[in-house]
């Protein structure tokens, strides 16, 4: 990897400058920082939901017995608690990232920037439609 050489890895020795140290708990002092750390942490729960879904698919492939066994496990109180916490973090993850989309992807239509809320709103629209579709498929079969 190319090294950046122009700024040295040290700064000159200035004994009279005061260099404040960053506390390990810097993220606790301000809600915005805490929100950021929670958003980063939410990725773990997103991964957990993906793993759960994959396990369900595997059980489905292995036959009704294996699926019933996994369903029983998923209904145990401990897994239910984890599922509720995961749901909270996945929703938090989705909302925070949807709201950040317009910042990363400024859209221009005929030379004019599309308003930020509209870019975010289109994400929510797709989310609602997809959720509605899933709900329809699940509820129809019952």
């Amino acid at each position: 990897m190319q090294q950046l050489t122009k700024v040295p890895l040290y700064t000159e020795y200035h004994p009279r400058w005061y260099r404040p140290r960053v506390s390990v708990y810097w993220w606790l002092g301000q809600w915005q920082y805490l929100k950021f750390i929670l958003r980063e942490l939410s990725s773990v729960f997103v991964a957990l939901v993906v793993v759960m879904t994959l396990l369900q698919l595997r059980a489905l492939r292995n036959g009704p017995e294996a699926y019933a066994k996994l369903q029983a496990l998923l209904k145990s109180p401990a897994v239910l608690v984890v599922s509720v916490v995961s749901l909270f973090f996945v929703v938090f993850h989705t909302i925070t990232w949807f709201n950040l989309t317009p910042r990363a992807m400024p859209l221009r239509v005929r030379g004019k920037r599309v308003p930020e809320w509209l870019v975010a709103a289109s994400n929510y629209a797709v989310w609602i439609v997809a959720s509605g579709l899933v709900a329809f498929l699940v509820l129809r079969s019952q």
């Binding site: 700024v7 960053v22 810097w26 993220w27 030379g111």
Partner: protein
Amino acid sequence: MSDKVILEIARYSPERDAEPSFQAFEVPFRKEWVVLDALNHVKDTIDGSLTYRWSCRMGICGSCGVMVNGEPKLSCATFLSSYARNGNRVRVEPLRYFPIVRDLVTELSGFLGKLKQVKPWLIAKDEPPLSQGEFLQTPEQLEEYRQFSMCINCTLCYAACPVVGLDPQFVGPAAIALAQRYNKDSRDAGATDRTAVLAHPEGIWGCTFVGECTRVCPKHVDPAGAIQQYKIKAALDWTKTLLMPWNRRKPEDAGSAAAD
């Protein structure tokens, strides 16, 4: 009796102190006063040794940035009344994450070094002769980079960015936004010259998108947006060279193409 506010100002004397401490000053509370007016009042009438930077007092020079109650703010553009009523306390500290030279004065050479690294000036590859006249730009071309050109180098975004605090080598929000200001300029052909610094773990990839830089920016530059947009561009460029290595641009014409 007129209203009063207590200013708690961080004091640090390099000759005397091992670390900063707070000193309280009672100043009149006037609704038209900004924090800088209160600092000037302290310096003029109470303690002439109080040290801080300021110049234009109208949000243009970018030299009066301080932490007001833990928020990075331009002291000339922050009303005391937004933070205090009669008898309240307002805390004024030097900008976070920078070495402190004295009282509220921070050391900026690290930031200036990073700024220089991204070459924040127009780089022309084939300069046309003067006889061809001026470089014309459409309003749309101007709009591409105008927002990023508003940066006044006040370094509030560095004081808001935890990555700057945790990784002092991180190029930082303002420098990357200014690099984008030139990358997106139709007259510039230096985008490839800046890539080595920007598409680097200490450049855009150091950013974790906390987004605080954009929130505190007094000029609405949106450095967080500039960084994420460059991340997308760098990732696409990398994918393109991976999928089509024979299509790799030659260094001499890559600059103008990347600036499009």
